[in-house]
Point group: D2
Chain length 467, copies 4
């Protein structure tokens, strides 16, 4: 059977997230859940220790490429008949145990396919999320450094594509930092609270309770959750909130990184050239057009941002259609959506790490843009300061701006001439004295500096919780 390895998804090809969500990894996770459950029963003296050890050994072998006892291709084909991979998995486990002379006595007792699959997905989510968070720390550290390094790097702020006012590149980086911090915090929270699923066929734990009593079922459930390092909870088989939280968080991570990529793509355009992707000779080259260095990392991040929302919509639609005690398709629709979101977010984190830690910033070019934007970049400030001083008021300022743009005349010259033509008075004199300052973009940055500090501080505060 042939497969998909990311040939058409370079944003996540060859990343840890691709590996962690591969069918090989899903089989491993399913086996891990079965092994943990067998161990839980054995630890409570409810199943033979040897049987638990046999299942665990299978699981460990599965992690070894080429020696894995269970072929995910076989399971994929075998899962069609029952509509999920756990059914053939149990057959494969029993077959493998029989081959090895192991006992299946403790296997899957009182569990249902959904228990094993939901809990395995939980484990996979945790693995990918841990990778994302590790990358996010590198990304945020780099963004915090950019923010602080460039707190004095004046550049043009763009609104609806047009030059609006001066800002600093440090504040822009701080905004990116805010975005990533909040998105990753949401992921961290969603994953921390992602619970074990262990409800039996219809969410009553009937089989378990029938065997071990209500207290026994409860204790075993908690022990399994402990063993798997996830919260215990009531069954949520048809209340998919936990997966919605994970999905929203993953899509949020993709969006926060996609926003950065969008900015980089604009700012590295040849005509703007205020930023450049890392100068890695292996990235983005074109043999036919050797002059062309493509912003490949940002492009891949944007491709993920375009794709993720559709998967999130699928998740919410499926949650709303989770009818009965197990729905007739909606649960199945969740699996590929969640695993693709994991790949998109995980892959995006890898690309963004490379992009942002190696981002090249050109302060001189930023300053050139500010100079090209010209005195008009300060027009909001002129309106504020001069409307009451200039004869003609606000309209006179607006007219001066327009005349300057149309004729190329110096805006400062026009303003100064008008001030001088006015009757002498202290305001006029003060305004004339202040003109140098008034036209200095570096003096019209508001609280940019302060916002940089507080954005970095907010990140520093949460950073330790992530590690």
């Amino acid at each position: 059977m042939t497969g998909q390895y990311g040939l058409l998804a370079p944003v996540w090809a060859d990343t840890e997230a691709a590996a962690a969500t591969s069918d090989e990894a899903v089989v491993y996770a399913l086996l891990h859940v079965e092994a943990a459950w067998a161990e839980t029963l054995a630890a409570a003296d409810l199943a033979p220790e040897a049987s638990a050890r046999a299942v665990r050994r299978l699981c460990e072998d599965q992690a070894v490429p080429h020696a894995a006892p269970i072929d995910p291709r076989v399971l994929a084909a075998g899962g069609v008949a029952g509509g999920n991979p756990v059914i053939p998995l149990l057959g494969e486990i029993r077959r493998a145990l029989a081959d090895r002379g192991g006992s299946d006595a403790a296997l899957h007792r009182g569990a249902t396919s959904q228990d094993v699959l939901d809990t395995a997905m939980n484990l996979i989510v945790r693995t990918v999320a841990a990778g994302i968070i590790a990358r996010a720390i590198r990304i945020c550290d780099a963004l915090a450094a950019h923010a602080q390094t460039h707190r004095g790097t004046v550049c043009v702020a763009r609104s609806l594509t047009r030059h609006a006012l001066p800002t600093t590149f440090g504040l822009r980086a701080a905004g990116w930092l805010d975005g990533v911090r909040e998105a990753v915090s949401a992921l961290h929270r969603a994953v921390e609270s992602l619970p074990l699923q262990w409800g039996g066929a219809v969410g009553t734990q009937a089989a378990l309770t029938d065997r071990y009593g209500s207290g026994g079922a409860s204790e075993l459930t908690d022990q399994l959750a402990d063993r798997l390092k996830m919260p215990s909870a009531r069954p949520w088989h048809t209340q998919r909130r936990p997966m919605l939280d994970v999905g929203s968080a993953l899509t949020g991570v993709v969006a926060a990184l996609g926003k950065i990529a969008g900015d980089v793509l604009i700012l590295q355009r040849p005509e703007i050239a205020e930023l450049a992707e890392p100068a890695d000779a292996s990235r983005g080259g074109s043999s036919a057009m050797p002059q062309k260095q493509n912003p490949v990392l940002s492009v891949l991040l944007r491709s993920a941002a375009d794709a993720a929302p559709g998967h999130l919509a699928t998740l919410f639609g499926a949650a709303a259609a989770a009818q009965d005690e197990r729905p007739d398709g909606a649960w199945h629709a969740e699996w590929p959506a969640v695993s693709e979101l994991l790949r998109l977010a995980g892959g995006s984190a890898v690309r963004a790490d490379e992009l942002i830690t190696g981002l090249r910033v050109f302060p001189d070019r930023m300053r050139e843009t500010v100079d090209d934007a010209g005195e008009a970049l300060l027009s909001e400030r002129l309106m504020q300061h001069l409307s009451s001083v200039l004869p003609g008021g606000a309209q006179a300022v607006q007219e001066a701006v327009r005349t300057s743009l149309a004729d190329g005349a110096s805006l400062r010259g026009l303003i100064e001439a008008q001030l001088r033509s006015a009757d002498p008075n202290p305001d006029r004199e003060a305004a004339l004295d202040a003109l140098d300052d008034l036209f200095d973009p570096a003096q019209y940055l508001g609280r940019a500096d302060e916002f940089v500090d507080s954005a970095v501080a907010d990140y520093q505060q949460i950073r330790s919780a992530w590690t």
Copy 2:
């Protein structure tokens, strides 16, 4: 100019959410933000008290139908030129103030369109969310009552549409309660933390800082936030996380209610008839087919669940495309998506309140279904108890089930005959003695009762935080 009033959206037509998100309400909210800012300046002695009062009076008049000084139709048309309604609003306010001899001295000072619009949307989100939460309390109270009342109402649990095991209607209601509680909690959290937007043209607060210094700008921002009862925060003009949280939460509410509606739609089908929508003569009747009582409330809830995910996808896509210091379309795409999600969630809450507080539950009919499902409903239990006792083991149980289904023979009879044909031994005797209990659905409900209690307790705990 003509309008939309919900003719094609009966799920939200004529609800408080429709009113709270109408263009009339948006104009009011925009005015309220401008008034609060004028008052903030006046309270700090930075603007004339009379000017603040004049803006506030305009705002109050706007709430009076037919006397509103500003026509939303005029603003809608006027907003096209600049791409947002705040620009013509300022003109209209100035015109109205001039008519009344009021001063516009304090108006909109240092603010940008996005500050006013984002903050007005924040207010609208709060209003609609408060309505949703009020309805949710009624819904959850009713669900908790259903859960407790019907903790002993045995019914069939359905998995992939098929009869699987017994459960209780109380547990099903408790599952619905879990779903609504978690969804509404997420909404509550998202709204509580939805911050003021007050950043000026590019998020630096340059104009404010230029006038009042960094400390002054900071204090005024905090005072405005206090006045509007929302958290203060750094500008988030292009980091749309807060709106994503709101959007996910609203879609989650729609999904949680849509899940209930989906269950009701199945369970009230004439062939199942275990539930019925409230017996309100004004709902769902058909004059052409007088025998037909349509489950209109559930149908409307499902229509919302089908529509909401597309809007959420738009929000996440737009957040990822929030380029520069104000994006070239993505911010604009957010407005209708958020306001339609508010209507869908708000409308759903109203319909669900009516549905769930008036839901008719037919325990006798549920019991009939259990009886029709027959002894085979306990087959999981039989497998567990008898596989080691019956000659032939698990396979013998499976065969007995199949034979019984095929021939209509009594499963209990088949099992009993096989037990009796086995060599006498204590296990066999015990099994024979236990047969009555073994075939009693009410004795195979697992921890259903316990889960009902803890679901209700979880709700009771959070209920007070919502009020």
Copy 3:
């Protein structure tokens, strides 16, 4: 490198569509395009015949598992650097040719990555679509047979879940046939007109024209199109209409089959039991609950219907974002969306073929439901016939229906009594005489029979165009 084989997507696992869209198949298709182009050049005496043969041989070898010269895993990893797989593919081809002593003289001349990738996707779309159409013929043949066989099978028509009027199962099947026929026709049209992409780096064919003149470039393009059996066209590198048509058509196929599955899922519910999935012992069984035969095929079809629309939204969003002469992410976002839609539609066709050709129809049970629905099922007809005859008019009919439903009294008895209580007159007599007919559901089927015929005829007419 690990991969995905459909473990979490049983709707398409182990189908021809999975194989045809695998990374192995993409590599083959890319190679096939390169080979066809080399052959085109060679046929025009513009490149050495031997070089074309060498590329073709590589391509042929690629189709042989385990002997393929190019490993898709290597390409997937190699494609990250440049953001698409064609760049490393050319390196791999050159390496392989060098190993074999073949010349790369004719390779990729004047082409750009997008030419090769878009055209390879075109080939893959054609392969999958051909498979879908072949399945659709089987599906439609079976639906046409169901429609004709069951033109007299009276059953209940359901509206908003409630019993509305009688219809026939034949007409329901004819409706399904309409749905599939129209969806597959749209796919057939979209694929027939899916054009070659051959525009060079920016869609001008500059390199080709520079070498061979405008006429030469034009002729070569047409010859390549002929060779690949697809229409020639102007470059559409950033006008993605052809892919949108394919995407809409594929999603439409999934929706049409999903609609059928939704109906089957309702109608095979134990309480309704008018239909059953094919009786294949290998499908849908549960070892823990041997009585449970899950409608797995329909469930898988629904899972596809839930997932497809999100991918379609991605395609339209990407088309709108196809900026410049090659966009910065939107083209990349298209690839996984199209290939997943191919899998979902291709997989759905396979599952639907099995479902519909083996569908079990239970006319007796349908008749039972009609009988259970009772005389009230004809109330629309009674309203029409008796409103002018019965004393009390339409209201009297409505009341009789309600009384009958409430009391369980015979509706016919109530009507007859009222008729008899009226003054004798010819209308009354005629109505009394007609009562038997009036209460016969088989006489209130409207044009059902005629619609069955015309639906089947419409299909028969287009069938030959598909083969």
Copy 4:
């Protein structure tokens, strides 16, 4: 009751599409369908002419603002009880007819709510589509003119944001023309074939057939279709293909115009400045920043492109969920999605008309960009021409390009020096002679000119079909 007039949707506020899809317009369309049906019955002598005239008069009055007999706000509120507006509409019509002494004898006979609502939506789709097509002709005429006028306007082609090769602005406009032509053609086709819905309660035409026989029902249906100028068809109540085609086509129109807007937004950025939005003083101004002229039309077009795909996804999801003979929510979800898509496409057409007919093109600035991009813009050509001539081959060309970019040295100088350093031979001489031509961007435009001609010709051919 308050409403929405487009305050938060400036892309469609105050356009013909907003009016044509308003609730006022929906009521009119519903009435128009009822009137046409009454007239059809009257024309066949099956209903009193006077009754048909009375309904028609109501309908005509409804078109008069402030005199409309039926208030859409009342219907919106009234539609909640039954889940659709047709139920209260019939009550309102009967009341109004009674007030006027008119007869309701012919009203709604044999029809169901869905017949009237689907057919009314069909009428609205036709109205909006006609408006879009009329705008599209203006847009395409302007694009064709741009394409022809600027066939010689050399500019930079951008790939993945980077300068790739020269192209012409004429070809870019021709690509836009292709996009709009194909999108609007698809809309034209979808609307032309959008059929009447006339199936009665469950799609059998039982009531009609019961009265008038199968032939009568068939003829009346065809006559109604003729009267409403739409194709007759079998009922498609739960086979929503026609609406999917309309939805895909509308979203395609939004995407094609959004692609243009995206290009304009890039090309009008201050740093690029090759295009500008129309110089309309009323558009895009900022009073606070008088230097800033926002590209409002393009921004609004982008906002529509971001929003439309979510609605399309809803339509396909709903079509797949159209269960039974009328689904339990999916049909209801279709209405707002279709009507918002109509507004987005209709509004986009209006904004695009203004944008494109007034688009300002700056050929000199385009040439400047070409000159700034420099000789390296021709590197693909150099590779092709010189790889076999230059000592060192392709690598030497690549190195020369890199050296030139790094050092700022003249690429032509480097090449020329290398050529001169080679041993004299005829190829070398020819290459030296050809250097002037080789470095002329205007001589490396491929088939741009030809593509412009054929794009314009393709449009001219279809133009007449649209009018």
